[in-house]
Subunit: 423 residues, 2 copies
């Protein structure tokens, strides 16, 4: 753009910043900037229907409870200590609560700036350049990118309806001897897939037998809407080989950036040292507030509210996809979480159609962003958690119509990069 | 210790954690755990006099003002947005305030989790393994360690009464072509030294001529107690070659972990990308609270309170050192900041005497912790900011007496590692 307009890159960057501040666009980590609302939409005050971000809706935030627990922290005799320098491991009352309620006997726990920092600290403390890391394909880009930056070789293993392909994991482990395997067994991002109990047991056994440290992201696991919960890898582990990553951010208040990493003491101690050099420790005001929010039972109660609301949204999103996506489209049917995954005819490039979708008032993330191999160019992720059911139905209908129109065109007039240009 | 007691290392780690929670010891980043109070002191309820930590005293925290601005945030219509996911660059109102009040026209600014993360993000975004980084000797260990972990070659340049030795900088720059030079021109940690204006100008010119990015830590600069302020490198810079690191943590509320990095847009943009992969963004509740604390004028007013209090403490510490340290000791005379530096007779090992000092009720940090070369074994850092003047006088008298007693002993009975074992 800078070249096109003969402007300085920093001018363009500032303009993008301004557009974001004013709500015209939204910048996504490593994915570039996305238009929030086409100019026309903005002019008409019609907000764009965005399926782009996997986060809980602000409208559900329990603000009066948040104010109450924050006032309690302000009146607490602990306030001066909360505002003073603290421990790399985190604010001790919250850490103890998490050890009791989100960990297992014998394991240790480190509080992090959200799950993203937990991933980064693992990459910094458990990986040397050249080490192999087994990940899901498609995968959360913030996970793939952190391990790539740590110099790891990424081993992508396909995710199917029952989560990661265990036979393919076995082959990759035998062939490439990864140091870590990172999986999201419940409501995987982006597919929403869940590993059945038997698959979890097999993966545990595989990793145990080959000495692979198994990293379980459980940030969506509490968002179960249908059926019975399945024991986590961390719960099933009998040999101290699982590190679990968690966060409050998918239930409430992601702006507070509080997550955690729990597992064998050797792993948490190394991560704590990486944490010290990264930022000494996490902000303690938010930790103290979230401690009271969790320990008072408000977190659990609010989880029920979120689950009830998001269950309806997921149902609406799946139903709308079945109604509106073109014949032949594959749509995942998650039992929880915030994301579902749509596979379209290979003739469609979801990246190329994004601008048209946004002009029509709908945003999503194209599938290739989630790939370690450049695949999934005809897929897209729909994050439904932030949208009312009405908006979900409307947004999916618009997308379905756009994709169908595209498929009816003769191949040579379809918008999209020519196949040669794909990299 | 685990070996000595035939216990599991994790048991020992847990015991240390417990000791720390109960205030018996304090764990320092990368320096190990230090006894807060000898058992005898604890039994007598005499708290140890600790010169170990450079942080503002809790007793000075303006708690009622903190409560007031936090309540304002709670009642603000912005609260839902503050609690939602935000920008890697930081909470925009605070960022704008800092751009206006702590930066210079044309530069950009990124909010970080304290100054430690600002250093880390620079190391992650501006350094490739093998790059040379010029640092002060002695130096803040959290700076040296971050660059070492990034794979940098450390070029230590001695600090004298007027800060870093500019002639030595010139030689190091010509010889080793560093990518970055990192300095603390005002009230350097650990020496308290300040670079005069002429030295700043020379360093700027040197770095400009050789294309070295100059990184200025200004975290102590506002703590000026005596004389006129000197323009910062960032203020003096005319060629966009200076990145300045700042923090609220030395004035108030270090537990909130809010710092920043400001400089040329190319540098801040690369650091912002590293920030995204590190932890997406910093907690926004603390940023919103500190924004109101700063924008209301409370920060500036509180700065006056801190400066008035710490000026007396610095004076008391220098005077006590002159009274009590053994003849021949060198004591720096900082005009601000939180630290002074004492050089003792080479016969004394401040590391070896630490246990005796702690048994006598006084803690400090031995000089070698601040060295990139294993030097400064007969020096120590005294961080006076957290101690009332009375305690400072008492603590320095105890240390002076201990060091003098040690020097009167025949060389062979002095405690300390034999010279051969020094590394």
């Amino acid at each position: 753009l800078a070249g096109q307009l003969s402007l300085n890159r920093s001018t363009i960057a500032a303009a993008y910043r301004l557009l974001e501040q004013e709500g015209w666009i939204r910048a996504h980590v490593g994915r570039g900037s996305f238009v929030q609302a086409g100019l026309q939409n903005k002019a008409n005050s019609t907000p764009i229907i965005s399926f782009a971000s996997a986060r809980p809706p602000e409208a559900l935030f329990p603000l009066s409870q948040f104010r109450q627990v924050t006032r309690e922290v302000l009146e607490s005799s602990q306030l001066p200590r909360i505002l003073q320098l603290g421990s790399p491991y985190g604010y001790e009352p919250l850490r103890q609560w998490l050890l009791t309620n989100r960990s297992r006997p014998g394991d240790d726990l480190l509080i992090t700036n959200g799950c993203q920092q937990a991933i980064d600290l693992l990459a910094r403390s458990a990986i040397q350049p050249g080490d192999a890391v087994l990940v899901e394909e498609p995968v959360y880009p913030g996970l793939r990118e952190v391990f790539l930056r740590a110099g790891a070789r990424i081993l992508p293993v396909d995710v199917g309806p029952d989560g990661i392909d265990i036979d393919a994991c076995q082959r990759a482990i035998v062939r490439d001897r990864p140091k870590l395997a990172v999986v999201t067994p419940s409501f995987q991002n982006p597919t929403g897939a869940t590993m059945p109990l038997a698959a979890r047991m097999r993966l545990l056994e595989l990793c145990r037998a080959s000495g692979v440290l198994l990293v379980e992201s459980s940030i969506y696991a509490e968002l179960l809407y249908e059926g019975e919960p399945i024991a986590s890898l961390h719960q099933l582990d009998t040999s101290g080989q699982v590190v679990q990553l968690g966060s409050f951010s998918k239930i409430a208040f992601p702006g507070l950036r509080v997550g955690w990493l729990t597992g064998p003491k050797s792993v948490t101690a190394a991560a704590a040292q990486a944490k010290q050099w990264s930022d000494l420790h996490s902000d303690q005001l938010s930790q103290a507030v979230l401690y009271r929010f969790a320990a008072s039972g408000m977190l659990e109660a609010h989880g029920d509210v979120v689950r009830a609301s998001l269950a309806g949204r997921l149902k609406a999103c799946v139903a709308a996809c079945l109604d509106h996506m073109p014949p032949g489209a594959g749509v995942t049917h998650p039992r929880g979480g915030m994301n579902l995954w749509v596979r379209l005819d290979p003739a469609i490039s979801t990246q190329d159609l994004l601008a048209q979708a946004e002009a029509a008032g709908v945003a999503y993330l194209p599938g290739h962003l989630f790939s370690a191999t450049g695949a999934h160019r005809s897929s897209l992720r729909l994050s439904f958690a932030g949208l009312p059911e009405e908006q979900i139905r409307k947004g999916v209908a618009i997308l379905g119509s756009l994709f169908a129109t595209q498929l009816r065109r003769p191949a040579e007039t379809r918008s999209g990069l020519p196949a040669m240009a794909l990299v």
